[in-house]
């Protein structure tokens, strides 16, 4: 299906990616692009290969075929921490925060990429290192305020209410100063008001120019905020276009409603 694409060059390109687990084909042949500043949603019924796609893009899963390019750099063979170092940062569906560590320290860990501490300076506790640590703490507060959980800074990550744990997961990813952010079902399990708060946060991030790729089941949210929607079913892309076009696409309707079961 051909799509009208924005004029800017894509910053994330997924080309002919296939993932096989033994005989099982998780993704058969996936091609899509994400452009600078765009918010793209990846949707599809359970087991369609959305999370696998995320794992391939972020280096947690080697693709059987094909390759992924981010801002002109091929991600093939890179380890996850190297992908993060390029500015492509993800969140997780489940394991989203460090449970036994305070919220504030969680964000400090997230700021790992921003630390320029030298081992020698650290051991001698040089003024330069202490200033850097101070600046880092200030930055952590800023991120907590942006996400809106600064009042819980001293709580343990695992003791936060569910919605706030999700926000902390995003705060961790934001701390890694992402150029593009990959969110894996960020609002699943959130109630309506938590979801509304989360959408506000996404708006703030977009205003800062962050590119976002979203995997989500919450259809009203997806249709409301996405610039473009990519629909996966049985490991292949069946539709790719703006929300209005997707909602009336016959193949999408068949995939979601054809079996008589509504997954959304």
């Amino acid at each position: 299906m051909s799509v009208q694409i924005k004029t800017s060059d894509p910053i994330l390109t997924v080309e002919h990616v296939a993932v096989h687990f033994g005989g099982l084909v998780a993704i058969s042949d996936m091609n899509f692009e994400v452009h600078e500043g765009e918010l793209v949603s990846l949707i599809g019924p359970n087991g369609a290969g959305k999370t696998t796609a995320f794992n391939v893009i972020t280096g947690f899963q080697r693709p059987t075929k094909g390759h992924v390019t981010f801002r002109g750099t091929s991600l093939n063979g890179l380890k996850p921490h190297q992908v993060t170092a390029l500015g492509l940062v993800r969140t997780f569906q489940r394991t989203s925060v460090f449970d036994k560590i305070s919220v504030f320290e969680n964000v400090l860990i997230g700021l790992h990429r921003r630390t320029a501490a030298s081992l020698f300076g650290t051991l001698l506790s040089l003024p330069k290192e202490r200033r850097a640590e101070e600046a880092l703490r200030e930055e952590a507060w800023e991120i907590l305020r942006l996400v809106g959980i600064e009042h819980e800074a001293d709580e343990l990550g695992g003791s936060l209410p569910y919605g706030d744990q999700r926000l902390l997961g995003v705060a961790l990813a934001l701390a890694a100063s992402p150029h593009a952010l990959l969110l894996d079902e960020p609002v699943s399990g959130m109630n309506a008001s938590e979801t509304a708060r989360f959408i506000e946060l996404l708006d703030k991030l977009r205003a800062k120019g962050t590119t976002i790729l979203l995997v989500e089941h919450d259809m009203p949210m997806v249709m409301g905020i996405s610039d473009r929607v990519v629909v996966l079913n049985y490991g292949r892309i069946i539709a790719n276009g703006p929300p209005s076009a997707i909602q009336s696409d016959p193949e999408v309707i068949k995939a979601y409603l054809g079996g008589g079961i509504k997954h959304a």
């Binding site: 460090f98 560590i101 320290e105 790992h112 501490a117 650290t122 051991l123 290192e129 001293d154 990813a173």
Partner: protein, 344 residues
């Protein structure tokens, strides 16, 4: 109050030789201090990165042998060449022992951290066994089971200050105390820095840690290098204090002693190995009046099981929790549980 506890402890321990004149007790404390140092090094790996090194005594023994051989000198034939080493000052041996043990930590880390968890345990156990067999069988170098006797004690000083050779118990006591304080400071700064945060993050949730850009091998190897070097330093102190070493230093029991000290004291806390080291360093002295050494070991096992059952995190975290609860009950103070690092 909590902040000054380490300084109070330091002052107290510094005062011990002033009122404790029994040489045997002092000797016990010196040996306990050396093992405490080894336990602190193990804690860096086991407590902060979550990787259990069950061959930690290898680094200790390597430090001891390297230091001893450097200060004793040796003459061996290797691949047809005759290599002769003239004795060097013990201080040089101590530096070399620390550096070489750190290097071994680097190699083991590089090799073993491709596979973590149980595999790391197996690699470290095997490493310790290989080193023990080398020490036992390379008779030309190590004297094998006949031991290396007459290791000179440490001599400190410069030409312009005059030299002091540490023969006495209290001199060695202070030497060990200084190194303990330094090691405590180094570990404290390390674990409260971005480096330590990365290690703790890997322990808590490796997938998440990696996703924010933390390199697994880099930080685990870093911990292994520091851990190996500190254990090597402890071994070197041991060699120059006891003045005789044989392959028995590599026995598994020594690793177990370190593990028990760390686990009962509280792994992942700064004070844990100190508290655990004191308990299991002093216990033999108290127990020997009542039971034989074999029974003692059974008792240690039982004591450790009891402590782990009652206080699964160890003694220090339990005291901290109790202290926090008491203080927050007394006044509504701010909760202050940062990383799992005690400041005792």
């Amino acid at each position: 109050m909590k902040r000054y506890l380490p300084y109070l402890a330091l002052v107290f321990f510094a005062s011990v030789p002033l009122w404790l004149h029994d040489q045997y007790y002092l000797h016990t404390l010196v040996v306990a201090g050396i093992f405490m140092l080894a336990a602190m090094s193990l804690n860096l790996l086991l407590g902060y990165t979550g990787q259990l090194s069950l061959g930690h005594v290898a680094f200790f023994g390597i430090g001891a042998y390297v230091s001893a051989l450097t200060s004793l000198g040796f003459s061996i034939s290797l691949f047809g060449y005759q290599i002769t080493h003239e004795p060097w000052p013990p201080v040089v041996g101590m530096v070399l022992g620390t550096v070489i043990a750190g290097l071994c930590g680097y190699l083991i880390g590089k090799l073993a951290f491709r596979v973590r968890g149980a595999y790391f345990v197996i690699v470290t156990v095997s490493f310790a066994e290989v080193v023990r067999l080398v020490a036992l069988n390379w008779v030309e170098l190590t004297n094998g089971p006949l031991a290396l006797p007459g290791i000179p004690p440490l001599t400190l000083g410069f030409e312009w200050t005059g030299y002091v050779t540490l023969w006495g118990k209290s001199q060695n006591y202070y030497l060990v105390l200084v190194f303990l304080a330094l090691a405590y400071l180094v570990i404290k700064r390390l674990v409260h820095s971005p480096f330590g945060r990365a290690m703790i993050a890997l322990r808590e949730n490796e997938t998440l840690a990696v996703s924010v850009g933390i390199s697994v091998t880099k930080y685990l190897v870093l911990a292994a290098v520091f851990s190996g070097a500190l254990a090597g330093l402890a071994g070197s102190l041991y060699a120059h204090y006891i003045q005789i070493i044989d392959p028995m230093v590599f026995m598994f029991l020594n690793t177990v002693t370190m593990v028990i000290m760390v686990v009962t004291g509280g792994k992942g806390t700064l004070a844990g190995p100190v508290v655990g080291g004191l308990i299991f360093g002093i216990a033999p002295v108290i127990l020997r009046n009542y039971v034989g050494p074999e029974v003692q070991w059974i008792l240690y096992g039982l004591l450790m099981i009891a402590i782990v059952f009652v206080l699964p995190d160890g003694i220090v975290p339990a005291i901290e929790r109790w202290f926090n609860r008491a203080s927050s009950a007394a006044q509504k103070s701010e909760p202050s549980l940062a990383l799992q690092t005690g400041k005792g």
